[in-house]
Amino acid sequence: MEPQQLIMPGRRSPRADAPNRPRIGIVKFASCDGCQLTLLDLEDELLAVAERVDLVEFAEATSRRSMGPFDVLFVEGSISTAEQVEEIVRLRAVSHRLITIGACATAGGIQAIRNWFELDEVRDTVYPGPTYVESLAQARPVSDFVAVDGELRGCPISPAQLREFLVSMVTGRRAQLPDEAVCLECKRRGVVCVAVADGIPCLGPVTRTGCGAICPAYGRGCYGCFGPRESANTASLAKWFSDSRSAVEVGRLFSGFTAWSEPFRATIDAHGGPPGQRADGSEPRDA
């Protein structure tokens, strides 16, 4: 048996031989690694988690590598290149359950803003010598390519939700990952509504909860990193925003980390696209 190496090289998990430990993999595509690092944020329970699962692929923490099969594969990042398309199809075939984690994997991420532009235009803007940059025309969520069994939202994902997911996996119960609005969390926490009390535009009413209402708690509006909630009525919220803002400004409010997910995407389109692009081809005011 190959040695377990998780964080502390050489430490052997006391329950490494326990039967039925699910084989877990964590892989990434176009993303910043922040979501998979959330696992390491479960500091107090990290070793206990490691005893209960067989972490066979997690490049951020262990040199052990695996091509599969996986009982559960966590996938971070959006799919941005042709190689990534091939790889995600291969991984799906060797994974019993495939769980996407984070805004990039579940919604395309901030890089999906480029989906509104011509690839060459973006590439030339970003890279001084773009010759070797190979990319698909769009950065897209994993679910555009393969079936997904579950998702953890957020940018980054929430340690509490990751823990809840892991516990549900180990105990066999249903993970409690609410699909309701951020507003419920604000009100439960006693956070004063920044939209009503300060007139700050806030996506909380249309965004899925899970973050603990961090942004409103610090006096700023929610920018939707957990993506649309169930019954997200973006049309009504955008109309309310429009009373005191231009269409461009309204579209921009929805153009964040989950801009590519519906109905945020449609709302952006209805307001002239994300910042940087104008229907009439003019330059954005603050470019």
Binding site: V167, E180, R188, V192, C193, V196, A197, P205
Partner: protein
């Protein structure tokens, strides 16, 4: 208990604070935080929002600094006192699972001794209304009752109003008449104050204040009278519950749903909304677990969800209708008052400024129809809201599995042993919450009542039921119950009994069959009509075969889809009595199955002349608390868990089968 009206100079307000602290109370009152007035701990009068007023509009709240020396002109904070009487998070249970051993115990923390300072007239009404809801029974909520009873209320009559106030219409303010220990009005120079309870009187006596000058009393009265004039009478409440009942199909629901974000803010700022959900937390292995309830809202999709991801209120218009009709109409049926106090928080704190006053006027216009009433005015079968019933912490009884019978591929019957007197006194049709640590507790109807235990027949419809069905003999599981109103067997005495079951719906009817056969002479003809999806989905097959062999009852079975081995009838369950010759007016019917099947059965039975008041069925809803305090299972004026789950068609009226209710 109102003594003389006294005067408390502004500079002496800290003496009142000191007296409250001397009474071992933490003082809560208004304070400015993050651009709004909230209720929070206030250590001294210096922390009050002196010199602040607020302007509200639909969807907007702004504080304005006036430089005034007055501390209570802010009108209403965003928070309501329910944050302290019905906190956002309340621990419910602690549970342990050690091998096959299971233990669940209720958690009930001692209530904090609090003083609420600055309570408005509308908020006193709200405290009272929510208290009635949480104590309506059959078992009042112990946590809420403890907190409410331990709180001392210092009321402050309004000297200002904002554009979203409408207490005058709802009859709750602005004058404070009762429900407070101390009642004060703020004048520039201080406070006119009187007692409203023995506790308040003693506290006031301890302050040794001068009597108020009659001119001061007059000025205080003029102040609040001006507030009344300013607010006017913005909502026409006369006949409102009846007008709303007649407006269930108004096109306006669809229109407001286009604007409504279903974000739940209105319900969470509402001082009377009491709905909650239960969250489970556990260690990694699910050995140690806790549950807590947290504020939830009928505006979230998950609130109406039941097993198998079915949902009774999938559309936003359903949820808005539930909220509005509950507040202004069915609340009367349930608790004898309106659920709205006119504080206007739902108007101000709606992120898109939906104004409930406008919606009411459009949906239920004054000149609009008031009938027909879709359901009887109030539940009338001995379970009308009982005021202030017994308050007790929940009982969680550990029972042991003594036998497991696999009924179908996904359904098993667990025979549970217990000596708990309350459980053994369960009546046919009642249900229990089945608790396995770390899992959500599903409501399960009792399928057998034995001298030494209960049978539960459970279909594996999700992780929790799957885990329970997987328990073997010797394993333990905790039960909370029995809950709900059972089948009214006594109403069938001397009459013919028709029992119609679809699939797993036979489980709650099995105790009816057993009770009827145990006292067979009490009833006329007894007929069983049993439907199932396939022959393999038939419950209690051996027992049913034995029943079919008896001469004192009739048994007929049918399946939706037959296999090669099935020689019986094929079709829907009502086909079994399409051509029956029995006389409907002698029949009492007991029906359980999928909601569609029950609708078809009820229609077929009434078509045969069975009195709707004699057709009883048991409804499935999202029942979480089982005692009418979490709000999930509401159906029109009913809490299905408390008022049902057994109802007659006549009781339900058009609430039965109505989409989105």
């Amino acid at each position: 208990m109102t003594g003389a009206t006294c005067f408390l100079p502004r500079a002496d307000l800290d003496r009142l604070f000191a007296a409250l602290r001397a009474d071992d109370r933490t003082i809560l009152g208004p304070a400015v935080s993050d651009g709004a007035v909230i209720y929070d701990e206030v250590a001294s009068p210096a922390e009050l929002p002196t010199g602040w007023e607020s302007d509200t509009e639909p969807g907007s709240y702004r504080l304005r600094e006036t430089g005034s020396s007055r501390a209570f002109d802010y009108v209403l904070p965003v928070t309501s006192w329910k944050r302290y009487t019905h906190p956002a998070f309340v621990p419910l249970t602690r549970a342990r699972r050690d091998g096959s051993q299971v233990e669940v115990e209720a958690v009930l923390d001692p209530p904090p001794r609090l003083a609420f300072v600055g309570v408005r007239a509308c908020e006193i009404a709200a405290l009272d209304i929510q208290e009635r809801a949480m104590r309506a029974g059959p078992i009042g909520d112990a946590d809420h009752a403890g907190r409410r009873d331990a709180a001392l209320v210092v009321a402050m009559e309004c000297a200002a109003a904002t554009s979203t106030c409408f207490c005058t219409s709802m009859g709750t303010g602005p004058e404070v008449r009762q429900g407070a220990d101390l009642i004060a009005s703020e004048l520039d120079e201080g406070f006119v104050i009187r007692s409203g309870s023995a506790t308040g009187a003693a506290m006031l006596a301890g302050l040794d204040l001068e009597p108020a000058d009659p001119a001061q009393v007059e000025r205080a009265a003029a102040q609040v009278a001006a507030v009344r004039t300013r607010i006017g009478d913005p909502v026409a409440v006369e006949g409102l519950p009846e007008r709303l009942r007649a407006a269930l199909d108004s096109p306006r629901w669809e229109q407001v749903a286009e604007r409504c974000l279903a974000c739940a803010n209105c319900t969470l700022v509402c001082p009377t909304c009491f709905c909650t959900s239960v969250g489970v937390a556990s260690d990694l292995d699910g050995q140690e677990a806790t549950t807590e309830r947290h504020w939830d809202s009928c505006f979230s999709l998950g609130f109406g969800r039941v097993a198998g991801d079915a949902n009774f209120r999938p559309k936003v218009k359903d949820r808005y209708r539930q909220w509005l009709t509950h507040k202004f109409s069915t609340w009367f049926d349930q608790f004898g008052s309106s659920g709205c106090v006119g504080c206007g928080r739902c108007v101000a704190w709606c992120p898109v400024g939906i104004d409930v006053r406008e919606e009411l006027a459009a949906i239920a216009p004054v000149e609009g129809p008031r009938g027909p009433i879709p359901w009887p005015p109030a539940p009338d079968a001995g379970h009308a809201p009982a005021a202030l019933t017994v308050v007790a912490p929940a009982r969680h009884v550990t029972t042991s599995v003594v036998a497991v019978t696999q009924e179908t591929a996904d359904t098993a019957t667990l025979r549970l042993a217990t000596s708990d007197a309350a459980l053994l006194a369960a009546r046919p049709g009642q249900f229990v919450m089945v608790e396995l640590p770390a899992f959500a507790a599903p409501p399960i109807s009792i399928s057998g009542i034995r001298p030494d235990g209960l049978d539960l027949t459970i279909r594996s419809a999700g992780p929790a039921t799957a885990a329970i069905v997987a328990l073997g003999p010797g394993a333990q599981v905790a039960l909370r119950g029995p809950l709900g109103r059972g089948w009214p067997l006594e109403s069938a005495a001397g009459r013919d009994v028709v029992i119609v079951a679809g699939g797993v719906g036979l489980a709650p009817l099995r105790p009816v069959i057993e009770a009827v056969l145990a006292d067979r002479a009490r009833y006329g003809a007894v007929r069983l009509y049993l439907g199932a999806r396939t022959p393999g989905d038939r419950l209690f097959a051996a027992e049913v075969a034995a029943l079919a062999g008896r001469s004192d009852l009739e048994v007929a079975e049918i399946v939706d889809r037959a296999g090669p081995e099935w020689l019986g009838q094929v079709g829907i369950v009502t086909h079994l009595f399409d051509h029956a010759t029995w006389n409907g007016d002698r029949v009492t019917a007991f029906v359980c199955g999928p909601e569609r099947m029950m609708q078809a059965t009820a229609a077929a039975l009434t078509g045969r002349g069975v009195d709707p008041a004699a057709i009883w069925l048991t409804l499935e809803r999202n029942m979480a608390c089982g005692v009418g305090t979490c709000g999930h299972c509401q159906l029109g004026p009913f809490f299905v868990c408390r008022d049902g789950p057994v109802f007659s068609i006549a009781e339900l009226g058009t609430a039965f089968g109505r989409e989105g209710l």
